[in-house]
């Protein structure tokens, strides 16, 4: 079964260490072709008649890419057109050590059966294994191994199928290709081959343009200094000549960036880089090495806004002028530590969304691409379909940035659709926020229960039958993924029984399978204005798991015995079967509670719950829980076009807080239970107390209105917020609460074994977790599994008990939640724009939320809209500004702006840049001479440079 040959491999690691490894060569590694008679394989992957029509090679053939082709042209290989590819183990291993993301992608491609990619383990095949020769570099050896493998394939295919099939080497290395041709192997460069593909001309655009090293110098002047190689950078970082940090490009000025230095050095934490040459081809998010400049060359962060708009690629003179502009504006006192980028430690490129700016020359094939993210430089791509792509949102990947090029080179990946379209823009915002939103794959769907599904006897075994209870759910209108339901009834002993029933999602999603992995990766359901990106497939989220009132549903119940003072006497957790008696909206539930005529069981149960909730809430607030506020709005959508026609601030009823109260109670009870049972690996949620300095702005702002906010504890803060009222200004309290929300820290998931601080500041609870929404949060699924294991209703599995794995999951969940939040805000911003587009120009009243050095931030409660009014413009005479940090106030000419002042602004949509449409605000009241927008004359031209920052 195994013919083995033992031999010795030597490697060096650190010092000189001889490592002896065995290397078995086998003759049971098969070629992977369907219909091969010599190989005894079970599941051949490669088709016997590969169809890829190439002008270069008329016979059916397989292609074998070498390492560099795989690394750089992965976009092409991922295309569905490319099939029947043989990936050698040598190539795969080289890719693995050189680029983890590409390795992941090629592994995904290999696992897709319809792509017919086969991995040939050539290093362990008796006939294709070669030893490194004397004086041969590792790269040369690998190239030779690849050529030998291609040769073997050709001989093997010939023997088996006559002269019909062929294997072709694809390599971009000229020497490798020459040697291959010498050895009688058909070899093409990737470009040659892709161009020769009949019927697929569009693939050419996706070729990455890697210029050969030797060609690089020949054209044009060198614009940038050379990057210092990694080994010397590391030496430099160790000795302190260079500093390592994350490169963050400026949003407003393409010639400026900051580098956040890693480590905990006190000074020079943040280094300013200015000017194209100093930026030296670093791109946002790269890890770079910087060299500090001498003190006399230090620069100040500029306040001007510069956008890269030049079409001509080589006008460096122009750039230099602009750079001068930067310097002249700097004043002595503002100078900050400055530096220049000397080398790149790690690129963090990803595919970017954006739009094509077509070249002015009609026949040109090279065009510039402007990414949606302003921190990314423009990218030069080569395409022949520029006229088609113009006006579309497209995705482009960067391939490299040669020293003689003003812009990085890239290639077109795919098109998303027409810019400005609702679907396209939604796609863009999902992509930019890294939200997985593809439809669920077949593998994932295969783990869904088969329909029609019903509860069987086996399911009932570990479950309590609670179908007789009067359970009902209370949710916002139009909600289809109902994951919680409640009940309450009197017990014989005079106490109350209250139950919270949560959809039993963990029953359907079993640990480890594809469905579980997919939902773990998604982490959360993302709610956009008109769309929901589900975490679990629709069948589960809106049918089997949704606790609708039309049938029996599996649930995980948390049942308390509570007395009339809302003291918990007894807690019980059980898996159960329930039948919801009614799915109510908040308004309907409120109506039932208030109605005097209704006295059915559901209404009684609701009233009982409501009464208890009030006591619970009061107790919680007494303990110091915060009631915060944020301006949230809801769009009314046109039912046909799905355009927003009106917006409305969210209304809060008693029933909202009733449901919330019991969910909090369930979460706390579950958190205690799982922590007691699994002290090392419970998934909990904490909310750290913010540092006191965060509250500065809140305290100052309140003082300016003669109110006092105490911040020494959560309780003091909550109390002082309650007291902070002003009879003449009822909205002030909400404003203060909005401001307080901005001072808070993010709540995060964590694993109890990895942290010691469990406190939840906002809820004033010593321990907390998420249990109540397993349909839309993965954290809750984990908590369900832990709780099920704790009560013996389900078995554990290894990953659940592994605190490091759990910590990893938490990290992903925190990231996904943050991104979901950002994309929600971006979606609201986009819909606000649509709304104002249809509405035209509006004047509205708002309040000043913040005062900045040269601007005020205005909140318009009616729309929940926040925008900035700038007082300095490019083409306008500067008004006299005086900023007082202590109060804080901003005096413009004679008008003094305090925080919370009422102002009137004009809102318009600026669609001049189709990629960055924005809401502009202009001041109408109070009057500032020479600055205001005239009250009536709306039609007359654009207002001044105003910018709305929605995603702060």
């Amino acid at each position: 079964m195994l013919k083995s040959k033992t031999f010795v491999k030597k490697t060096r690691s650190g010092g000189v260490l001889k490592i002896v490894r065995e290397h078995y060569l086998r003759d049971d590694i098969w070629c992977g072709c369907v219909g091969c008679s010599t190989c005894l394989q079970e599941n051949p992957v490669l088709q016997s008649e590969p169809v890829m029509e190439s002008a270069l090679c008329d016979k059916p053939h397989y292609i074998l890419p070498d390492t560099n082709v795989l690394l750089h042209q992965i976009d092409i290989l991922e295309d569905p057109v490319i099939q029947n590819v043989i990936v050698l183990q040598t190539v795969l291993q080289e890719v693995r050590s050189r680029s983890a993301p590409v390795y992941k992608r090629i592994k995904d491609v290999i696992s897709k059966p319809e792509k017919h990619f086969y991995t040939f383990t050539n290093e362990h095949h008796r006939e294709t294994y070669i030893e490194r020769e004397q004086g041969e570099s590792a790269n040369d050896r690998n190239d030779r191994a690849i050529r030998i493998a291609v040769k073997w394939y050709n001989a093997h295919l010939k023997k088996d199928s006559g002269d019909v099939l062929q294997a072709i080497l694809i390599t971009n290395d000229r020497r490798n290709k020459e040697k291959a041709v010498e050895a009688g192997i058909t070899a093409y460069t990737c470009e040659e081959y892709i161009k020769s593909l009949i019927a697929n001309p569009e693939l050419v655009d996706r070729l990455a343009c890697i210029s050969d090293e030797q060609h690089e110098i020949e054209s044009g002047r060198i614009l940038f200094l050379e990057h210092i190689p990694l080994s010397r950078l590391q030496q430099g970082i160790k000795s302190g000549t260079y500093l390592q940090g994350t490169f963050r490009a400026s949003r407003d000025n393409y010639l400026e960036a900051t580098v956040w230095i890693h480590g905990d050095a006190e000074e020079n934490k943040e280094i300013i880089i200015q000017g194209l040459r100093n930026l030296n081809r670093a791109i946002h998010e790269d890890i770079v090495a910087v060299e500090m400049l001498a003190k006399d060359q230090w620069m100040a962060p500029s306040s001007i806004i510069l956008q890269d708009e030049g079409q001509n690629e080589d006008d460096m003179e122009n750039e230099e002028e602009k750079e001068k502009l930067l310097k002249s504006t700097a004043s002595k006192s503002m100078l900050k530590p400055s530096g220049r980028v000397v080398g790149i430690i790690k690129r963090n490129w990803r595919p970017y969304c954006g739009m094509l700016s077509k070249s002015q020359i009609k026949e040109a094939t090279k065009h510039l691409f402007t990414p949606a993210d302003r921190r990314i430089p423009r990218i030069r791509i080569e395409t022949r379909q520029a006229s088609v792509l113009e006006g579309q949102r497209i995705i482009v990947a960067i391939d490299g940035w040669p020293r003689n090029s003003r812009y990085p080179n890239g290639h077109f990946v795919r098109s998303l659709g027409t810019a400005g379209d609702k679907e396209t823009e939604t796609e863009v915002l999902l992509l930019e926020h890294d939200v997985p939103h593809q439809p669920f794959s077949q593998v994932v769907l295969s783990f869904l229960p088969k329909m029609p599904w019903s509860i069987t006897e086996k399911d009932m075994k570990h479950r309590e039958d609670l179908r007789h209870l009067y359970v009902c759910s209370v949710d916002p209108p139009g909600c289809t993924d109902i994951d919680d339901a409640l009940h309450c009834h009197n017990l014989e002993n005079g106490n109350l029984e209250v139950g919270v029933h949560i959809a039993d999602v963990s029953y359907f999603i079993r640990p480890g399978n594809a469905l579980d992995q997919e939902s773990e990766n998604r982490g959360t359901t993302v709610y956009l204005c008109e769309k929901r990106i589900d975490m679990v497939p629709d069948l589960l989220s809106s049918n089997l798991c949704s606790l609708r009132s039309d049938g029996d549903r599996l649930a995980f119940s948390c049942i308390w015995e509570i007395n009339y003072n809302a003291e918990i006497l007894n807690t019980k957790f059980t898996k159960s079967v329930i039948r919801s008696k009614a799915s109510l909206t908040y308004a309907e539930a409120q109506m039932r509670i208030d109605s005097t005529s209704m006295n059915d069981d559901i209404t009684k149960s609701l009233r009982g719950l409501n009464k208890l909730a009030k006591i619970l809430k009061k107790r919680r607030i007494d303990k110091g829980a915060l009631t915060l506020s944020s301006p949230e709005v809801r769009f009314h959508m046109d039912s046909e076009t799905h355009d927003p026609i009106d917006l409305q601030t969210k209304e809060l009823r008693e029933t909202n807080s009733m449901v919330e109260e019991f969910m909090l109670l369930a979460n706390v009870s579950v958190a205690e239970k799982i922590y007691n049972e699994f002290s090392e690996c419970a998934l909990l949620r904490k909310h750290p107390a913010p540092p006191l300095s965060n509250y500065d702005i809140l305290v100052k702002a309140a003082k300016s209105k003669d109110l006092e906010i105490k911040i020494d504890s959560a309780k003091a803060l909550a109390d002082s917020l309650d007291k902070a009222e002003c009879s003449s200004f009822p909205y002030l309290n909400t404003l203060l609460r909005i401001l307080a929300t901005r001072c808070m820290m993010q709540a995060v998931y964590f694993c109890s074994g990895m942290d010691s601080d469990f406190h939840h500041y906002g809820l004033a609870s010593p321990i907390y977790t998420h249990f109540t929404s397993p349909i839309r949060r993965y954290s809750d699924i984990i908590v369900h599994r832990l709780l099920a294991a704790a009560i013996g209703a389900d078995c554990t599995y290894p990953e659940l008990m592994d605190k490091h794995k759990l910590a990893e999951i938490c990290k992903n969940l925190n990231y996904r939640h943050k991104m979901a939040q950002y994309s929600q805000r971006a979606s609201v911003a986009f819909h606000t724009q649509l709304f104002f587009k249809s509405k035209g120009i509006v004047s509205e009243e708002g309040y000043i939320l913040f005062v900045r050095k040269n601007a005020i931030v205005v909140l318009i409660p009616k729309f929940g809209l926040e925008g900035t009014v700038f007082f300095e413009q490019k083409d306008m005479p500067k008004p006299k500004l005086f900023y007082n940090d202590e109060i804080p106030t901003l005096t413009v000419e004679d008008v003094c702006f305090y925080m919370f002042d009422k102002v009137k602004v004009k809102i318009t949509l600026d669609a001049s840049n189709i990629q960055h449409q924005k809401i502009r605000m202009a001041l109408v009241e109070p009057q500032i001479p020479g600055f205001n927008v005239p009250k009536q004359k709306y039609a007359n031209g654009e207002p001044e440079q105003k910018k709305c920052k929605m995603d702060s």
Partner: protein
């Protein structure tokens, strides 16, 4: 660099074996003339030498003697040149004392000690080259040496280590696989009766996986048995021809 891929998607390990395949085993019995029994074994790059004396009278203090069975005395050591770096290894360090104890337990279970009351059997094993699975190589070598000495045993004692990586049990771990730090299980089995002479595990393994790993380990031990049995039969045949029968 991103660590080593211990098991590729195609199911091959670093050295080209599949998950359930053993390394190549080569063994010889009767390598020394002075000792009562001796054997040498190679399991891939792990090489071990075992020497057996006895049964003979108790040496040293007589108080150690057991009236109803023989005393099994083991000693495990590693040659200074057995690893990549030359290292002096004094006797009686923690690691080798533990190994000694394990060997003792294993063979007390396998040798029919009640046949030799008040006597002693000495087993000396030395690792000449270490490349993972040291305990297992020692057990296998000692089994052959005991047979060479003609001491009756219940059955062969066959040992094999098993790791658990990426939800797959890997059999007969090499040094790099051991160094990766996953759970590792060493099993010494009496293959005919499938009785376990010794089972040792280090690092944590979830109990759901234990059965899977144990199955793989006992399958591997039976594979080892097949090889050892072949060696013994060949050796006996050779001896017979030499004796001219």
């Amino acid at each position: 660099m991103a660590g080593l891929e211990l098991l590729s998607d195609q199911g091959y390990r670093l050295d080209g074996r599949k998950a359930v395949e053993l390394r190549k085993i080569r063994a010889r019995m009767g390598v020394f003339a002075q000792a009562d029994g001796s054997a040498y074994i190679e399991q891939g790059n792990t090489k071990a030498l075992a020497v057996v004396y006895g049964p003979h009278e108790i040496r040293g203090s007589r108080s150690k003697a057991l009236h109803d069975r023989a005393v099994v005395n083991c000693q495990y050591s590693m040659a200074t040149f057995s690893t990549g770096e030359r290292k002096r290894r004094p006797h009686g360090d923690r690691k080798s004392s533990e190994m000694t104890l394990h060997l003792k337990q294993t063979f007390e279970a396998a040798i029919l000690t009640q046949l030799y009351p008040r006597s002693q059997i000495d087993i000396y094993v030395q690792i000449l080259q270490a490349d993972g699975g040291n305990y297992c190589a020692c057990v296998n070598a000692a089994t052959l040496a005991i047979m060479d000495a003609g001491i009756p045993m219940r059955d062969y004692v066959c040992a094999c280590s098993t790791g658990f990586i990426e939800d797959t049990p890997l059999v007969d771990l090499s040094y790099i696989e051991e160094a990766a730090g996953g759970p590792q299980l060493a099993l010494a089995l009496l293959p005919k009766s499938e009785q376990i002479a010794l089972l040792e595990m280090n690092s944590r393994l979830h109990e759901d996986h234990l059965e899977k790993v144990l199955d793989a380990a006992s399958k591997a031990c039976r594979d080892v048995y097949a090889v050892l049995d072949r060696v013994v039969r060949d050796h006996v045949q050779e001896v017979c021809t030499l004796l001219g029968e």
